[in-house]
Symmetry: C2
Subunit: 292 residues, 2 copies
DNA sequence: AAACTGTCTATTGTGGATAAAAGACAAAAT
DNA sequence: ATTTTGTCTTTTATCCACAATAGACAGTTT
């Protein structure tokens, strides 16, 4: 098959949710904007909804006939984009299956394993190579450099440089800059999670990403912001396989964040630097502990 | 055609030069190591040399029959790898052809223009995207973000952070570290070029890259070293299209380098920082001047 | 007049095919 | 006992084909 229609399936599922809330759907261009897809895909969705007797569709009239049932949705496995599937599969392989540094990575084998074509695997590897975990030998295989202690140290060294600089520039943002409002919302969430930490500590990972990305974004430097992708992916998979003391670690990090946020609000450079350094230091330690 | 045999042609040309200097060629594995290709390619080269009556080849005996003539070589255009061709072609397009920021980049059109398949163009764009000059809209085109003033400022901001840090760590290298010997050689070249600046100022660009890469490498941080690729490509193409006052600019930069090198030797952090900052500042100004 | 729909075209994403290049292994030579 | 060669298999680099998706334009509706 040439291309999976995952964009269609995912948008269809999201459109079902919209449909559940109204008696008629808006115009095709409007739906396209809402769902983030082209009109071609919108029309495919409407056609499918008609087939399923969910909708009576005639030109502008899009009347909802019945509520969607669970079986109307496409299964979640079919809505993942191929690159996500390859990423997950690859990460599992290199993290789970004893990823010896120096190991060779074989495009063909990986493709067979995942059940996909080589082109997609190749493109994934090229994209992934910017994370510094693999390296290409031209006309030959890729080398896994491994998720080693050195990797973590190099990563955190740059992270710390970038985040200190970003935090400093955050303090210089105009008082009416929208980032301050974002910061408020993020702070509120911190308090909410801390208040019910036993049940909600798992929400930390996502909040952590959101907070640090906000800080990095204030640097207005694409290289700094882009670098945060590496942090994100590393921590994302790191949280998935290192769950020891997650509750305690997350509670502590939340407290550190609150201190860091207060420092940002104070706009006092010295205080910001202290709070930022303290938090980054403990983040680094957490990461390092999970490695050896 | 599935794959151009540029590896073979390029290695063949290089092997002709080796052949010109001896009466017999070494073993296949040894040749492979020297030329940086596999035995398969070495054997293809030897076969071709036999056809051209350059060599009498029987197992271990590889007797040179005659000196290579100019027409024995493959033309230079045929030895460039496809990715180099695409890179040059792309850079010419976006630098020469009024590269408006926000312009769309079309894979198919680019491929037709260069006379190649879409896959190779796509892979090039993915690799190139890490330089922050283009950005992908999934399921749609690429956007050219343009070689703008902002780009240059963001690039130099990170460069300065990285280079200051690398320079500081350079001073901490053990006295017997090979980098010091490299530094000696680089310094000597500086003096040689300065002594004959009117004729040799064009050699600066390459020497500049070599010097800064050496400094960056001492950081032992893959992210810092990899980032230098961006600097390299930007300055490489920048030097090609901005040649005003090249002699003066290069002479000044060479002097600054010498000062910077002396500072590194002194191992005095304050002096290093001063020299490094001064040079980076003038490099930034040169780059910015070429933009608007 | 502005927004929407019908229809058509162009481009992207992905699998498959194939030549080039790498590389494995046993037999042969030093 | 290495190193080299002969032979064969595997993998990479690249083109091509085709479905999915985006997008353009004219005609239609409000």
């Amino acid at each position: 098959m040439a291309k999976q229609n995952t964009v269609f399936k995912d948008a269809f599922n999201r459109c079902l949710k919209l449909l559940a809330e109204t008696s008629s759907l808006p115009s095709e261009p409007e739906l396209g904007t809402t769902l983030g897809v082209s009109r071609t895909t919108v029309r495919a969705i409407l056609t499918r909804m008609e087939e399923l007797q969910l909708l009576a569709w005639d030109k502008r009239a899009k009347v909802v006939l019945r509520q969607p049932k669970p079986e109307d949705y496409y299964p979640a496995e079919e809505t993942d984009s191929l690159s996500d599937i390859i990423e997950r599969s690859f990460m599992r392989r290199i993290l789970a299956g004893g990823a010896e540094p120096g190991m060779q990575i074989n495009e063909l084998e990986l493709a067979r394993d995942i059940g996909t074509g080589t082109t997609s695997v190749r493109e994934f590897l090229i994209r992934f190579s910017r994370f510094g975990l693999i390296e290409k030998r031209p006309n030959s295989h890729w080398i896994l450099k491994g998720f080693t202690r050195e990797f973590a140290l190099e990563l955190t060294e740059v992270r710390e440089m970038f985040e200190l600089r970003s935090a400093a520039s955050f303090a210089a943002l105009a008082p009416d800059h929208p980032a301050w409002a974002d910061l408020d919302r993020i702070e509120t969430l911190h308090h909410e999670i801390l208040a019910d930490i036993d049940n909600r500590y798992k929400e930390f990972s996502e909040l952590d990403e959101r907070f640090h990305l906000l800080v990095h974004t204030s640097s207005s430097n694409r290289f700094i912001v882009d670098f945060y992708d590496i942090i994100t992916i590393v921590f994302h998979y790191h949280y998935q396989w290192n769950k020891t003391n997650a509750r305690e670690r997350n509670a502590r990090a939340l407290e550190e964040h609150l201190d860091y946020i207060a420092a940002l609000r104070s706009r006092d450079p010295a205080r910001i630097e202290t709070a930022c350094r303290r938090h980054l230091k403990s983040a680094r330690e957490t990461l390092l502990q999970s490695i050896q």
